[in-house]
């Protein structure tokens, strides 16, 4: 699985670097660093709802599906990163 954090200008201003740092820490703490690749992406085309995350490589994507194996997550902040991960991403890892 890949998590792409938008670092386009708009998301950057809303704190995408903080979100990246938060996710680095979360992935480590949940011991899933080998399963999830964290990436940055220049603009995911959802500037109004940033910080936007794109989750790639999942079997049954839900929540605003944008492709066969990917979906978007909106309004992510460093403060809600933990709940976004545990509630919406971790269940898809099948662990």
């Amino acid at each position: 699985m890949q998590i792409k954090v938008c670092v386009g200008s708009s998301c950057h201003l809303k704190g995408s670097y903080d979100v990246i740092e938060a996710f680095k820490e979360i992935l480590k703490r949940h011991d899933v660093e080998d399963l999830v690749e964290l990436q940055a992406s220049f603009c995911l085309g959802n500037c109004a709802n940033g910080v936007t995350l794109q989750v790639d490589g999942v079997e049954e994507p839900h929540i605003e599906k944008i492709g066969d194996d990917k979906f978007l997550l909106h309004n992510v902040t460093k403060d809600n990163a933990e709940s976004v991960f545990t509630e919406q991403i971790r269940p898809l890892l099948n662990i």
Binding site: H12, L13, Y17
Partner: protein
């Protein structure tokens, strides 16, 4: 003669812009195959010539300009080229005593001459060309301003003496000496030397992306862009660029942050370093100080560093650099840039592109532009890298750095000579070929003191005050590349 509508500093730029605009319009709306026949008549309607001997010569020159707008001579790797018909064969006779010479008693010219080259014959100053070194002291000494120094503006502008006069009295560029800085492009009063445009390649890349569905086309903009586009704000220019069909606009200043990080580290290791951001400066060192090539930083330029970040996160992306620089059109083809940049557009070409597509940037909504730090953004002015590397080194706990700011090729030559002779007191050399830095690049729309203030303001506006987050982003992209 078409009048400059105050968009550009010079009428020469304005004519180049008109040709580009018409070529771009035809690339979209059709009629490119008739460009050579029709465009000259539109821009030089006649029947009277405005500058040259006849309207037919003017139109022939216009055809040369169209060729340059469509890519120029492909077999010549230099992005800067002389248009043979347009070169007006300016006099280059050196010191010339005009009829204003009164044959006075004072003989200030004779006294001022360090080489004893002036004698007074029949109440008139006469210059012995075999002795004259063209220092110009007599021209300043004459109380009647009767002596002038006739030099070709292109040859004066060229600090590496790459321009000579061929058998037909036309200017010719020696590619072995030329560093593609483009100084002659901006200085030739007849607009006879120009940069070759890649705009048709860029339009092709944009069209084939099928509105960014096949692949994404990113624009990487040089920080010197602030203050370039009329009275539009940079946030509006970003929207305007997207309207041209670009997927996203990213600041080259982001790559500049990473370049600073590399340079500070590399200096800590080598203890003597020159910058490598300016491709004309790098070419200048390679061609004139081969012994000092070992000191050139191995870091790639901010343009390439930014493109690397983009292509690591979006491997099918195409990246177009937009800047003020002629030599970037040479740099992007070099092996060391690893094909990261797909093409290069100048600020002049950007203006022509926007106007050809009917996009008024002053009427566009704002788009955010904020990827880089304060330091990356002030790269555009002379002294910007020196200031950045000083602060970054301090933050990294690296000590002993002494920066030298080399503003323009003459200062580069002087400082590198000291370095070569082991007489330099500094150990970090910031080299920029253009006087004042990139903000005075030859393909800028305007060249003025206002641009420095604009760059400073743009730097201050950055959310990131240090390069830390840019470096983190770089490290993250590297980790993924290794996986």
């Amino acid at each position: 003669m078409p009048q400059n509508n105050r968009l550009f500093d010079t009428t020469v730029q304005y004519i180049k812009y008109q040709v580009l605009k018409e070529v771009i319009r035809r690339a979209y709306e059709g009629g490119l195959e008739d460009a050579y026949l029709e465009i000259p008549k539109i821009i030089a309607p006649g029947p009277k010539p405005s500058v040259r001997c006849c309207i037919y010569k003017e139109r022939a020159i216009m055809q040369d300009r169209i060729k340059m707008a469509m890519g120029g001579h492909k077999d010549n790797e230099n992005p800067v080229e002389v248009m043979y018909t347009a070169c007006d064969e300016c006099p280059a006779d050196g010191i010339y005593v005009t009829p204003a010479c009164r044959g006075c008693m004072l003989h200030a010219c004779k006294d001022a001459c360090p080489k004893d080259a002036i004698t007074i014959i029949d109440h008139h100053a006469v210059v012995d060309k075999s002795k004259c070194i063209e220092c110009g002291k007599c021209t300043k000494a004459c109380p009647y301003s009767a002596i002038i120094l006739q030099k070709r503006p292109c040859m004066v502008a060229c600090k590496v003496k790459a321009i000579s006069i061929d058998d037909d009295k036309k200017a010719q560029i020696d590619n072995n000496k030329c560093i593609s800085c483009g100084a002659c492009v901006y200085k030739c009063p007849f607009g006879a030397i120009t940069d070759k445009s890649l705009i048709l390649d860029i339009i092709d890349i944009l069209k084939k992306s099928e509105e960014n569905k096949k692949y994404h086309v990113y624009a990487v903009i040089a920080p010197a862009i602030v203050g370039q586009c009329r009275s539009a704000r940079i946030e509006q220019v970003v929207s305007a660029i997207k309207k041209l069909g670009f997927y996203q606009v990213v600041e080259a200043a982001l790559g500049a942050d990473i370049t600073l990080y590399h340079e500070a580290n590399e200096w800590a290791e080598k203890k003597i370093l020159t910058t490598s951001c300016c491709p004309s400066f790098v070419a200048f060192v390679e061609k004139n100080f081969p012994d000092l090539v070992k000191y050139i930083s191995h870091s790639v330029s901010p343009m390439v560093e930014t493109a690397k970040l983009i292509k690591r996160s979006d491997p099918n992306a195409k990246v177009i650099f937009i800047g003020p620089c002629a030599s970037k059109k040479m740099e992007f083809k070099l092996e060391k840039t690893q094909g990261m940049i797909d093409s290069v557009m100048s600020f002049e070409e950007l203006q022509a592109f926007l106007d050809a597509r009917g996009i008024d940037d002053t009427q566009c909504e704002d788009s955010e532009l904020d990827n880089a730090s304060f330091y990356g953004r002030i790269f555009a002015k002379s002294g910007g890298i020196a200031q950045g590397v000083n602060d970054v080194a301090k933050q990294m706990g690296v000590e002993g750095l002494k920066t030298c700011q080399m503003n323009g090729i003459d200062e580069c030559r002087a400082a590198l000579m000291r370095l070569k002779l082991n007489r330099a007191t500094e150990n970090f050399f910031e080299g920029m070929a253009c006087d004042g830095g990139c903000i005075n690049g030859p393909l800028s729309i305007t060249h003025g003191p206002r641009n420095v203030a604009d760059v400073d303001k743009y730097g201050e506006a950055a959310k990131e005050k240090t390069i830390d987050n840019s470096v983190k982003l770089y490290k993250l992209s590297l980790e993924n590349e290794k996986k």
